[in-house]
């Protein structure tokens, strides 16, 4: 190569270098330019513009700085940059729905975002500074933001006891408990109860294989595709507890024969007093009288029943016991009498109280149930089932294969635990851990759960889970509850936040304990934090009511709240039992806030009573909720017999602050003066329905 040539090449090279330099300069300029155009900077700039157009600019921009903002909580492993864009998260004036996102303030909840971070509840990627990365599932991040309608699941991660702020989560947990999901699935923070479905050890002496066939094929309670629930063909609200299993006719036959032949102990026919039988057996109105007694005893407080009201048939009654409209076509008369006399002798875990029956009442009520609560066509389409040995064997196998033995006990078959998948950490699963099969649904955890719950076959065509039918709101609630089950927490700091549910229990021993268990008081009433919520909390009953009133009430319960359809059943409590109960309630169930031995002293003057009447009727218009005489509302209890019912100290304490005596009491607290309290107490104590000795 000649010298000149070399010079020419070097010129070319120089040109190349020059071009490269220009390009590299350009590239170097891109970097700051690109940084300037980053998404979060765009939001920061628009927040400044937004704030400058608001009247409270100074407050909105008080903490503003142009860089990245983050919440750093090392103990929980939280590094959330969400507040970089969500600048107004803590600004009360930006709470309005008209404020554009991402600047809107967070609702005022118990946990401030700046103290708790965002992803602890909302999920998403806290470190991300781009909208899509922060909110959505991306290649590198599998936990997208939880939609607001399911966010209560996040509350459930730490709050194992129900809290009032999360109605959807509470409803979901209620459904999960009611439907016995724990029969097959392991669930977080939940213990398996002693009994799920009824014990079938002796079911053959209670009902026939044909009835079981009918029950398995079309359960009493059914739900159609639109979510309308019917019980025996009548509309109802309740979800069926026994789901529908996908059974062929031969499977139905084998299972019904197997279950229907379970007879562990013969049921002896009850021998009625000969005189009772002689006087009632052939009376034409025995069933009518039985119905009257059935109503008087308030069986419907626990058992729903179809009744005709105003030409319309409706299911009415409580949901503690089973629905009884057609029970006469199900059970045998001997079983019914055996059961009514002592439910726990047939089923030790039964919630039904052991009533004190007279032969006459037992005969009348059982005749009513067997004669009137029937349906001649109930078993019309059911084949006659001969107890074939082969069917029994196949049925025993199916009983385990179909999962019946997860909820029901029967002779010779062990209870099957964990028949279904473990759900105790289901809410923590990522999309890659889910088996969607060939289904066509959005690849998200929520869509997967909802499909599994509403139609198990839609995800896995060989699923063993039976078919439940949920209202859309309940499907959402159950999904929310399961989303809250996340198993072990991500960091020890968060694990330390978990509030465990208390499991109170109150089963005293002694004479009171025996009566308490016999009448199952705790199924409806609450004692020292334990028991049902259907009836008043009796934890402080001894402070509230006079002993004599308690005794009379137990012997002949009358409703104090006329609005309530649920009333205390007539248990036929003996005098001795009523005395023991009243003594125990008076001695044990006292509030420390009141001293009954130092009540405000009477006698009350006529002036005080008159002043109290004036306050009651005119100044405070208590009659809007309470009834005295013929007029008044029925939100609060009827006060017509307050003088025989309530203790003076209780009335005073209650007027001062109802919620201090009964947390959550409905009556609003008011600012009465001591004189007013004195007058109102005098007036209420003067209200006596029947004379029972002198005033207290």
């Amino acid at each position: 190569m000649a010298h000149e040539e070399m010079g020419r090449i070097s010129n070319r090279l120089r040109l190349g270098f020059a071009l490269c330099s220009v390009v590299f300069l350009g590239v170097m300029a891109i970097s700051p330019l690109r940084d300037q155009l980053r998404e979060w900077k765009h939001y920061k700039r628009s927040y400044v513009t937004f704030a400058e157009n608001r009247p409270e600019t100074r407050r909105l921009l008080a903490d503003f700085h142009p860089g990245l903002d983050q919440i750093w909580l090392p103990q929980w492993g939280v590094t959330d940059r969400c507040i970089t864009c969500h600048q107004g998260i803590d600004q009360p004036s930006l709470a309005d729905a008209a404020t554009p996102q991402p600047f809107r303030a967070h609702s005022v909840i118990a946990h401030r975002a700046t103290e708790w971070g965002c992803v602890v509840c909302h999920q998403g990627q806290g470190l991300a500074t781009e909208t899509a990365e922060a909110h959505k599932a991306t290649l590198g991040w599998e936990k997208p933001l939880v939609p607001t309608s399911y966010i209560q699941g996040s509350c459930g991660v730490c709050h194992h006891p129900d809290i009032p702020e999360t109605p959807r989560l509470n409803r979901g947990r209620e459904v999960v408990t009611d439907l016995n999901c724990i029969g097959c699935h392991k669930l977080e923070a939940r213990e398996r109860p002693a009994m799920l479905g009824p014990d079938l050890t002796n079911i053959g002496n209670k009902t026939s294989p044909e009835w079981i066939f009918k029950w398995l094929r079309d359960p009493r309670t059914t739900t159609d595709a639109n979510g309308n629930v019917t019980v025996n063909g009548y509309e109802n609200e309740e979800e069926p507890r026994m789901p529908r299993f996908r059974l062929s006719d031969s499977e139905l036959r084998a299972l019904s024969v197997f279950v229907g032949t379970r007879k562990s102990k013969a049921i002896e026919a009850y021998r009625f007093d000969a005189r009772v039988l002689a006087s009632w057996e052939n009376k034409p109105d025995v069933a009518d009288q039985g119905e009257t007694r059935f109503r008087q005893m308030f069986c419907s407080t626990c058992h729903p029943l179809a009744v005709v009201r105003g030409g319309e048939t409706k299911i009415i009654g409580g949901d503690i016991g089973p629905e009884l409209t057609k029970v006469g076509s199900k059970v045998t008369a001997d079983w019914l009498r055996f059961w009514l006399r002592n439910p726990q002798a047939y089923l030790p875990q039964a919630l039904m109280p052991r009533y004190g029956w007279s032969d006459e009442d037992l005969y009348k009520v059982s005749r009513y149930v067997m004669d009137r609560l029937t349906d001649a066509d109930l078993l019309a389409n059911v084949p006659k089932l001969a107890p074939l040995e082969t069917d029994v064997d196949v049925g025993a196998r199916l009983f385990q294969e179909k999962g019946c033995s997860s909820c029901h006990v029967t002779s010779g078959i062990k209870i099957q635990l964990d028949f279904g998948p473990d759900l105790s950490a289901e809410g923590a699963k990522t999309v890659s851990q889910l088996d969607f099969g060939s289904s066509k649904m959005p690849r998200t955890l929520i869509a997967f759960m909802e499909a599994k719950i509403s139609n198990p076959l839609s995800v896995n065509s060989s699923a063993r889970m039976p078919q439940y039918v949920f209202k859309p709101s309940d499907l959402e609630a159950v999904t929310t509850a399961v989303l809250g089950m996340k198993g072990a927490q991500s960091t020890p700091g968060i694990a330390a936040l978990v509030i465990e549910a208390a499991s109170p229990s109150y089963h005293p021993a002694g004479d009171f304990g025996k009566i308490y268990e016999r009448y199952k008081c705790y199924v409806c009433h609450r004692f020292a934090g334990y028991g049902g919520a259907l009836a008043p909390d009796l934890s402080y009953e001894g402070s509230r009511a006079q002993r004599r009133w308690i005794e009379d009430f137990l012997k002949n319960p009358q409703t104090l709240r006329p609005t309530l359809t649920f009333r205390m059943p007539q248990f036929n409590v003996t005098d001795q039992e009523a005395g023991i109960l009243a003594d125990y309630l008076g001695a044990v169930f006292q509030t420390p806030l009141l001293d009954l031995s130092a009540p405000p002293q009477g006698p009350w003057t006529a002036d005080e009573v008159a002043a109290g009447k004036q306050l009651y009727e005119v100044r405070y218009q208590c009659q809007s909720c309470h009834t005295i005489g013929a007029t008044g509302g029925y939100v609060g209890p009827n006060l017509v017999n307050a003088g025989n019912w309530l203790n003076a100290a209780w009335i005073r304490g209650w007027l001062e602050n109802p919620q201090a005596l009964v947390p959550g009491a409905l009556e609003p607290r008011r600012a009465f003066t001591p004189e007013e309290i004195q007058a109102l107490t005098a007036y209420l104590l003067s209200q006596k329905q029947r004379s029972r000795g002198g005033p207290q």
Partner: protein, 163 residues
């Protein structure tokens, strides 16, 4: 030939990062029902559901615990107490009666009771039982379920509006 290669490499080096500057498409909006914390059926048309935010959902809970007895046509315990009261209290969703009242008036009415606000003394004061934010939540719930619907602009501006 070589300088073309150099230019090409330069161009790629330049446009590669620039690609990142392109404005991202906005995050797709979620369904409105998914943005709701709670829900309440429309009282006049039970097939319609009204989405509720957090505050309105808390108001719903308090309404169904304390207010439902007199301000709804049926209650959790059965019949309503409305028929026992004179004047008959408005239903919780009665927009015709309540849309004209300001939030501040309702807040005072619930806190101090009907008697203090020249309304029926049958409406008791709740200020010593409920917290101010509870009462605000009840009003927010009432506004959400109101029929005819409540529009904030329809009421006169409050003297307490932000300065």
């Amino acid at each position: 030939m070589k300088w073309r290669v150099v230019l090409l490499i330069g161009a790629i080096a330049a446009f590669g990062p620039l690609e990142g500057c392109r404005r991202k498409p906005p995050a797709s909006e979620t369904k409105p029902a998914e943005n709701a914390y709670g829900a309440e059926p429309d009282w006049n048309d039970p097939l319609q559901t009204i989405p509720l935010n957090y505050e309105q959902t808390q108001g719903q809970r308090i309404f169904y615990a304390d207010c439902v007895w007199c301000h709804a046509s049926s209650t959790p315990a059965g019949p309503s107490n409305m028929s026992n009261l004179k004047p008959v209290p408005p239903l919780g969703n009665d927009g015709a009666a309540l849309n004209g009242l300001s939030d501040e008036f309702l807040q005072n009415l619930i806190t101090l009771g009907g008697g203090a606000m020249s309304k029926s003394a049958m409406m008791p004061p709740w200020g010593m039982t409920l917290k101010p934010e509870d009462i605000r939540a009840v009003i927010a719930f009432q506004r959400a379920i109101s029929q005819p619907p409540y529009h904030p602009s329809a009421r006169p501006r409050s003297q307490y509006s932000e300065k």
